[in-house]
């Protein structure tokens, strides 16, 4: 024995999970959606993603190095993930400078100001996204129309999202059923619509969901209850008044429901720790989203809904403590 003998308390073995493995697992799960956005939006999707990821990682490095003055630790993949999610939440023709500002807000304010990884109460990518939506409303709502692979970026042809079309129609007193330029459910499922670059293809996002479940990175609770709540609530509204409220399938396939349910609301740091807490959290997001979409000023509301529920997570954690073994004993035989 030439080696040092280590002595430490048990356990002496570690499981398969590690922070980088989880972060890069989510990155892998986002690849189908990335492929779909490149397919629909072309070069723009690649540029936006590259700028967003690089600037998020750079800001994290700079803040660690020069402001917090600690050993920079960007290899855990969390900044890469924030960058990807921020890119997925903006239009594919967003000017580079705006993306960089979004990344600074996401990492600097959304994450680092609270103490870095694990400390932030709000989803950093959504903080960046909502900041941009409020600060640059024009650029953030000019949606390139999906086409084959295009090399255009800033000069892309733009149009409205299906949700915006519906909102506009309802505001003008038109009936939803008479709208002509709404994509079919099938087109919506594959992602043939205007929107934030990563949110369009439900199919690609569901593939990512399957991968996350397979790798046991997330559980099914948040996505299933979130999508289920949106479906049920918008279904009830639709049944009550089909002219004023779009059908539930339309609602779950458009906008950010899939991206939000699978990737944004399931963020470990900003979601509850127990399954019961997750269910309440997901139902809350679903209800708020449908309320904002149908009765609020914005056509889409999932970003706001997730941020609002993020704020409730500490309370949910307190209310939904697990029952200790042997605390409430039910001994039937």
């Amino acid at each position: 024995m030439n080696q040092q003998i280590h002595v430490s308390p048990s356990p002496h073995i570690n499981g398969e999970f590690s922070v980088p493995k989880i972060m890069y697992g989510v990155v892998l799960a986002l690849l189908p959606a990335f492929a779909a956005s490149v397919y629909y939006f072309g070069m723009g999707a690649i540029i936006v993603t590259a700028v967003s990821v690089l600037s998020c990682v750079a800001f994290e490095y700079l803040i660690h190095r020069f402001i917090l003055k600690i050993q920079p630790r960007i290899t855990d993949g969390s900044a890469v993930l924030t960058g990807l999610l921020l890119a997925f939440n903006v239009p594919s023709n967003l000017p580079i400078l705006v993306i960089v500002i979004g990344a600074l807000v996401a990492i600097g304010i959304g994450k680092m100001s609270f103490g870095g990884l694990g400390q932030n109460p709000f989803n950093p990518a959504l903080v960046g996204r909502v900041f941009l939506l409020i600060s640059f409303p024009v650029q953030m709502t000019s949606w390139p129309t999906p086409g084959g692979f295009s090399t255009g970026y800033a000069d892309a042809v733009t149009g409205a999202t299906p949700l915006a079309l519906v909102k506009e129609a309802v505001k003008n007193g038109e009936s939803i059923s008479t709208l002509a330029n709404i994509p079919s459910h099938m087109q919506l499922f594959f992602g043939h619509m205007g929107g934030s670059m990563g949110e369009v293809s439900a199919l690609a996002l569901l593939l990512g969901f399957a991968f996350l479940l397979y790798r046991k990175i997330i559980t099914w609770h948040i996505p299933v209850f979130l999508i289920g709540t949106v479906f049920a609530f918008s279904g009830i509204l639709h049944l009550a008044s089909p002219e004023k409220f779009a059908d539930p399938v339309f609602h779950i396939l458009t906008g950010g429901i899939m991206l939000g349910a699978v990737f944004m609301a399931t963020d470990y740091v900003t979601s509850p720790m127990t399954h019961f807490g997750m269910i309440i959290f997901a139902i809350g997001i679903g209800l708020l989203t449908v309320i904002i979409r149908n009765f609020g000023a914005y056509p889409e509301g999932i970003s706001f809904a997730i941020l609002i529920m993020n704020a409730l997570v500490p309370l949910l954690n307190r209310w939904t403590k697990p029952t200790t073994f042997g605390e409430e004993v039910k001994n039937g035989n």
């Binding site: 024995m1 040092q4 002496h12 999970f17 922070v19 969390s78 720790m273 697990p322 073994f325």
Partner: protein
Amino acid sequence: MLKTFKRGGVHPAENKLSASSPIITAELPKVAAVPLGQHIGAPASPVVNKGDVVKVGQLLAQSSGFVSANIHSPFSGTIAKIEDTIDITGFSRPAIFINVEGDDWLETIDRTDILLAECNLSATEITSKVKEAGIVGLGGATFPSHIKLSVPPGKMANVLLINGVECEPYLTSDHRLMLEKGDEVIVGTQLLMKALSVSKAFIGIENNKPDAIQHLKALTKNYIGIEIVPLKVKYPQGGEKQLIKAVLNREVPSGALPIDVGVVVHNVGTAFAVYEAVQKNKPLIERIVTVTGKSVKTPSNFKVRIGTPATQLVEACGGVPEDTGKIVSGGPMMGKALKSLDIPVSKGVSGILLFNGKEAKRPIMEPCIRCGKCISVCPMGLEPYLLMTFSEKQMWESSEMSHTMDCMECGSCMYTCPANRPLLDYIRLSKSTVGQIIRTRKQ
């Protein structure tokens, strides 16, 4: 569907390297050290002096309290000294050193392999024989067994549960014992049933030991009231409360004991020791020890006399591997890390596990990402991340309110944590501090 406990649990790589190695009888050492404190409770007090000549099976030290156990000589020879030595706990504690000479047994001990299934002793006679033989829980907890057989007034046992789960990775001593001494284990189970006056016993075995399940199932056909229960492989199923939940679906209340739900749990190794003590008059002087590790040349199972140096067992497996970086007594999840192999095997040593340098190091701790995995794997329904925070901030009252005392230290949280946080270290700290506060409050 196989039975298992419902809440939490993990499934580490099983690594049962020595599962197919038959039990080998270890050679006798030249000098042995028999520790006086091999069980939970007061150390035994020696009844021999330096220079005395002893035979195998002779009483060396006497139980010195309610929770204590006798210790018998595993060797014949001369008492060299009674002196402190570093034992399995890592502390220097008194032990009786014996210069081993020959192998001369007490005549009262039946050393044949003939199975004696018949027993005409009464319940109290069996219990007193178990007490006399110094039998303690051989699963690793080393709680004196006769205490569990004397059911306190006002309580009733109606089921005996035999723990053949062996949920710790690497360890195979119980597995081999069930395969090679199945009849004896079952007769031992019957004796325990008689001592407790119960008519039903279950032997819980995890499904990764199908040969043991088949073997014992075939054997139990000839016995009334003993049932083999195959269990889904899940750690920590060998924990008493988890095993009771898995097999009987009874939940032991927080702070209570198995007897409060009418159950007594004993390990298969203990059942075997009870057989030998009651039917063969043989005190607890031997046990089965697994010596294993990925770099160990021939991972093996040994029948070892108590007091044999652990080094000798490792030598018999091809020597200490060059790359050894950690020595663990017991399994990888709950075992204790040792500073060196120069310790005597005691009643609670179920295995000696050697890790290489790479496996030995703890990975670097990262910030908690609040994934909640520690909560979902905790078999006791606790919030390990919160208990760690309370402990770090020395918030003992909050620790107590959050049931830190219910932690069984199975290590599932820390095993699972992706950020490699030392959850159990901090929970242990809060357990000992809160335990002290509770004791002071009671005074």
